[in-house]
Amino acid sequence: MFDKILFATCARDACDAAARMAFDIAQRYNAHIYVFHVFGVPTHGYSQVVIDLITGDELILNENYVDFVKEEISDYCNQVLKNTKDYSFEVTIGFPHREILRFARRIDPDLIVMGGSTGDPDISFYKKTMTGSTYQRVARAARCPVLVVSRPAASFGGHFSNVVFAADFSIADDAAFAFAFRLVQEQELD
């Protein structure tokens, strides 16, 4: 069902639940999981300056910093990586939704897993209940299903037990129903 999973992470708490679910699914289906992180957006024209998406600081892009970010991602995924053998890290700069879609086009994943919103729920309650702009833009254009995980699913062990298909009778419904039907059929779900 899933051979390649793209887990797009912001490497913050907002993605913790998504990380656990992504790795659970990867283990369950023996899939390769690509851990993908966009760490900065370019600024100052053609220069090498990027704005770190986590700290907001300006930094100069170089190989050492890229290696440092990869290490941070590895540490971030430490707990879930222990049981995973088939994974790889990819870090880059750019505008997150755009780079996620660019990478997805390159690797053609079966599933993209993302967190809901990186907004601080202590500042705005709606950040807990709404998906962020990155997810919305990725979901709009992705060529595969996009799973958003906003909160922990304690009982999820990597496999689905039942599926709820919510239809709005739009064109996108066709593709969504086809996926839901296939999932139910192959996994013998309710």
Partner: protein, 470 residues
């Protein structure tokens, strides 16, 4: 020993007179974060005075010679320069002083200058002038100090005195024929990707590649491929909705030239010849470039001279994007839904490189007449060919060691915008767009800013035969 009798120092491994020619050399220079070692080495590099004077003999001709000699030191250029105005009218920021104390001095000394002088000249050429050419407009003799600073940059580049980022930028053009590490394959694939992504909303959207004899050949800024691919999609959509017979070249698609900002004359020639080769290969009726000022100047205005074309014109008629857009609106190829016109106090950035330097001041205003509700547009003061530089032109936006000077240089534009009371700034130029974004970041004046293309996508009517059938 040098001509000054000094022991000749070895050239640096990173900072030297050699241009960047290979991917490996690019990576090596890029790995020197912020150019720390590069600038350290620059403090010790020697001046090849013989080479400098020899180059001047071959390239410094009657026009510039006359300019330097007939300057009456009247000071009328002073107030024309935004650097002079924001630095409390410091006499050392008067354009005539700046060029006479650098290029003028090199000529007077017959090239016998030292390392300290060249540092001063580098800072003057890149942090005290954006080559906006406004001074040339105000000089009673028509002496264009901005043009002379472009020339001075070439002399400095040849001697190894060029900001780190621009040495890299010129190297990118030599290696990739683009201002960033974007290959021809990246370009074509990204355009195809954008078409795939937007085909559902715009049925029939395709990207014609290497079509011979098309009406339009479209060229871009490499940063659109690398970081802003929506710009490619928007261009394709608008050509599609306008029913244009257009194409992109699979090679020769980069219209910009950081080599021009860097003073790498050889790379300037290589870059424009690469684009002209695409024009000659595909024989379009016209070339339309993206919304970028320096790209237009590099390929359409100065490019023919780099390529040795005696008529001063590219191989085919070449338009700035705003010229195509105005024509499309004027002829009805693109129609605006009047109910969607912008109803927000809006102003316009008149970009130096295609307004003052290529006369398109009324073209942009014609477009505004279609897209902004009457009563909502407010011109900056001054405007049109008298407008001030955005503050980041001539490559200044990207140069780290001169960031402080650049941030101060933004003040003039900031104040112009504030005086209009506008909340939306139209900036049909990638460089101006960057500078205005940085104005908002630095000074928080409460504006949003945009190129024209993304706005047009929301405003334009979709012809019946191209509408999505639900």
């Amino acid at each position: 020993m040098s001509d000054l009798g000094e022991a000749i120092m070895p050239e640096g491994t990173l900072c030297n007179k050699n241009p960047i020619q290979t991917e490996e050399a690019l990576k090596t220079l890029l790995s020197d974060t912020s150019g720390k070692k590069y600038y350290e080495e620059m403090k010790s590099i020697d001046i090849d005075s013989r080479l400098l004077w020899d180059t001047i003999h071959k390239t410094f001709h009657s026009r510039m010679r006359t300019w330097l000699e007939i300057c009456a030191h009247c000071g009328l250029c002073a107030d024309s320069c935004f650097f002079y105005r924001i630095h409390n009218r410091d006499p050392k920021q008067v354009p005539a002083y700046k060029i006479q104390s650098t290029l003028g001095e090199i000529i007077r000394r017959k090239g016998k200058v030292d390392n300290k002088f060249m540092w001063m000249a580098m800072e003057t050429a890149w942090a005290k002038c954006t080559c906006c050419n406004r001074c040339g407009l105000y000089c009673p003799h028509g002496i264009d100090m901005g043009v002379m600073f472009s020339y001075l940059r070439g002399l400095l580049y040849q001697q190894g005195f060029v900001p780190w980022e621009l040495k890299i930028g010129a190297g990118m053009h030599r290696v990739y024929h683009a201002q960033m590490d974007v290959t021809d394959e990246d370009f074509v694939e990204t355009f195809k990707w954008m078409a795939e992504e937007y085909q559902e909303d715009y049925p029939g959207l395709t990207i014609p590649i290497d079509k011979v004899g098309a009406d339009i050949m479209y060229t871009v800024n490499a940063r659109e491929v690398k970081h802003y691919p929506e710009a490619l999609a928007e261009a394709a959509i608008l050509f599609h909705l306008a029913g244009e017979n257009w194409t992109i070249p699979s090679s020769g698609w980069e219209q910009t030239s950081l080599a021009m900002f860097a003073g790498d004359w050889e790379a300037c020639k290589m870059q424009v010849e690469h684009v002209y080769a695409a024009m000659e290969r595909l024989r379009p009726k016209r070339m339309v470039g993206t919304e970028c000022g320096h790209a237009h100047r590099a390929t359409v205005v100065e490019g023919p001279y780099w390529a040795g074309r005696k008529d001063g014109r590219p191989p085919v008629e070449s338009l700035h994007y705003v010229e195509w857009l105005a024509e499309a609106l004027r002829t009805g190829k693109l129609k605006i839904d009047p109910s969607k016109r912008i109803k927000e106090r809006t102003t316009l950035q008149d970009s130096c490189n295609y307004i003052r330097n290529h006369g398109l001041k009324e073209i942009t205003r014609e477009i505004i007449g279609y897209i902004v509700e009457p009563g909502y547009f407010v011109d900056m003061a001054p405007n049109r060919d008298h407008n001030h530089c955005c503050g980041g032109g001539g490559g200044l936006n990207g140069i780290g060691i001169f960031r402080e000077q650049r941030n101060k240089a933004l003040i003039t534009k900031r104040d112009q915008i504030i005086k209009t009371g506008a909340t939306l700034v139209l900036a049909p130029c990638h460089n101006c767009w960057d500078a205005i974004r940085d104005i908002e970041k630095e000074y928080r004046i409460g504006i949003r800013w945009s190129l024209l293309r993304p706005l047009l996508i929301d405003l334009v009517e979709i012809p019946e035969h191209l509408k999505l059938n639900e």
